[in-house]
């Protein structure tokens, strides 16, 4: 059945991305509304993710929708052996839209094929997390005033980091120059470097992480280097402190440069960086609210014009 689900952002057109960013901008101007009055939004988290769930639920609540769902798969019938299909079909009877996080890859795609209502992918295993990508794009747009021709530096775990892969693909429309800064064990997979070559995206790889390397950055996208990703713990010990951003490294960086991070952070950004005007990861997380408001409304068939001329805005 054809619904307006959002499963991936990888194949989204430039026009559609800009359209959703403009809608998110409207929600930033006026966050509290009743545009979803009478709607029921289901948040089904088959894998716990507090940050993402709270963001989706806040987005729905601030637009006047009611929220049902579960935050912990242990309390659902999935543990009794119910299939995903049965859960989705059952919830489709109650809700107008489903925002779902699942530990299996492709779960949201499958749900979108069987459900009579729209599905929003809130993360499916290591595969896609389109609302994160949209909020990253929104944050870049907000801080730089454009998405075009930017120098984007990605740091840390570029091998398993789903967010960096999706961002890389979504940026293909905007002529970016990427710099990949990672240890050998966690460097950008060939698959994505091939993608860059096919799409004519410029990139450079680095192993060092210092002021000199990042001085031309417009965006510094930090990710966490996780111990469990290493087969060789000696290697982890050797590199774990190399990819930490410290405040003194920011001297000499561009004035417009902003530091992003999908959060949660552990130690990869020193705490004194938080005070720098370049630190932008908390605002980035806040943008998740506007991006998700735009996604929910778009999937429910509410247009940008509806959002602009919305009579339900709460002052």
């Amino acid at each position: 059945m054809e619904t307006r689900s959002l499963v991936t952002i990888a194949d989204m057109s430039k026009e559609k991305i800009m359209y959703l960013l403009e809608m998110a901008q409207e929600f930033e101007k006026n966050t509290n509304r009743k545009i979803l009055d009478g709607k029921v939004v289901a948040t089904l988290f088959f894998e716990p993710s507090t940050r993402t769930r709270l963001s989706f639920e806040t987005a729905a609540n601030r637009l006047g929708a009611r929220v049902i769902g579960f935050a912990d798969p242990k309390i659902t019938s999935g543990t009794k052996g119910e299939t995903l299909k049965d859960t989705i079909m059952m919830v489709s009877n109650y809700a107008d839209i489903i925002c779902m996080r699942h530990f299996l890859e492709g779960a949201a795609r499958y749900a979108s094929e069987i459900a009579p209502i729209p599905i929003v992918n809130a993360g499916d295993g290591a595969n896609q997390h389109p609302s994160q990508t949209l909020l990253d794009l929104y944050t870049i747009y907000q801080t730089q005033g454009t998405l075009e021709n930017l120098n984007i530096y990605m740091v840390g775990d570029l091998k398993y980091g789903r967010t960096v892969h999706s961002l890389l693909m979504a940026m293909r429309h905007f002529n970016p120059t990427f710099h990949f800064i990672a240890p050998d064990e966690l460097k950008m997979p060939d698959e994505y470097k091939d993608y860059c070559q096919r799409m004519g995206i410029k990139y450079t790889e680095h192993k060092d992480f210092n002021t000199e390397i990042i001085k031309d950055a417009d965006i510094l996208y930090m990710t966490r280097v996780q111990k469990e990703r290493f087969t060789d713990l000696m290697e982890y010990e050797r590199v774990k402190d190399v990819y930490i951003l410290k405040k003194d490294m920011l001297e000499g960086c561009r004035d417009n440069m902003k530091i992003l991070h999908p959060l949660p952070r552990v130690n990869e950004i020193a705490y004194d960086v938080d005070e720098s005007p370049k630190a932008y990861y908390f605002q980035q997380a806040k943008n998740g609210l506007y991006a998700r408001q735009a996604i929910i409304c778009d999937c429910l068939g509410i247009s940008l014009d509806d959002v602009k001329n919305d009579p339900t805005i709460l002052k």
Partner: protein, 150 residues
């Protein structure tokens, strides 16, 4: 010297030729030939100028449709279907890789939803020459010839 046929001639039906010997029984299983009621001749380890060693299958009174043909493409490239009518070759068809494969091979990703739900698998063929398929669900790519048949 008289050249002897290694397998008896067929009056009406289909000959599947140039099957890699080690894939012969995969073809049998894939086309469910063991369930056929008409005569089926299976030749194994036959000499082939092209391949050195090959398999051949002759199925009497059976003509395969496009869907069955595309299933065959999963097993090996360069196989050929020869349509026989009244002992005459009326058509030779090369087995081509289709654009999509539904319910034919298994996804190699254990964390893919299609390995964890009662649902058909679905692949897009992303590179016909190199034989690369991409799972419609988990988006992982794999090699067609290494894919496990369902």
């Amino acid at each position: 010297m008289k050249k002897e046929l290694q397998v008896a001639a067929l009056e009406n039906g289909t000959v599947i030729d140039h099957i890699p010997t080690e894939k012969l029984f995969d073809v049998v299983n894939l086309l469910h030939l063991q369930e056929m009621k008409t005569p089926v001749t299976i030749g194994y380890n036959l000499e082939s100028q092209k391949m050195g060693c090959k398999g051949i299958i002759k199925v009497a009174n059976k003509f395969f449709n496009d869907e069955e043909m595309s299933r065959l493409s999963v097993i090996a490239k360069n196989m050929q279907l020869i349509i026989i009518n009244n002992y005459e070759v009326v058509e030779k068809k090369d087995v081509n890789v289709p654009d999509e494969l539904k319910g034919i091979v298994r996804c190699s990703n254990p964390k893919c939803i299609c390995n964890n739900e009662p649902m058909p698998t679905h692949f897009k063929v992303t590179d016909k020459i190199r034989g690369i398929i991409k799972c419609h669900y988990c988006e992982k790519e794999q090699e067609l010839t290494k894919a496990q048949l369902l």
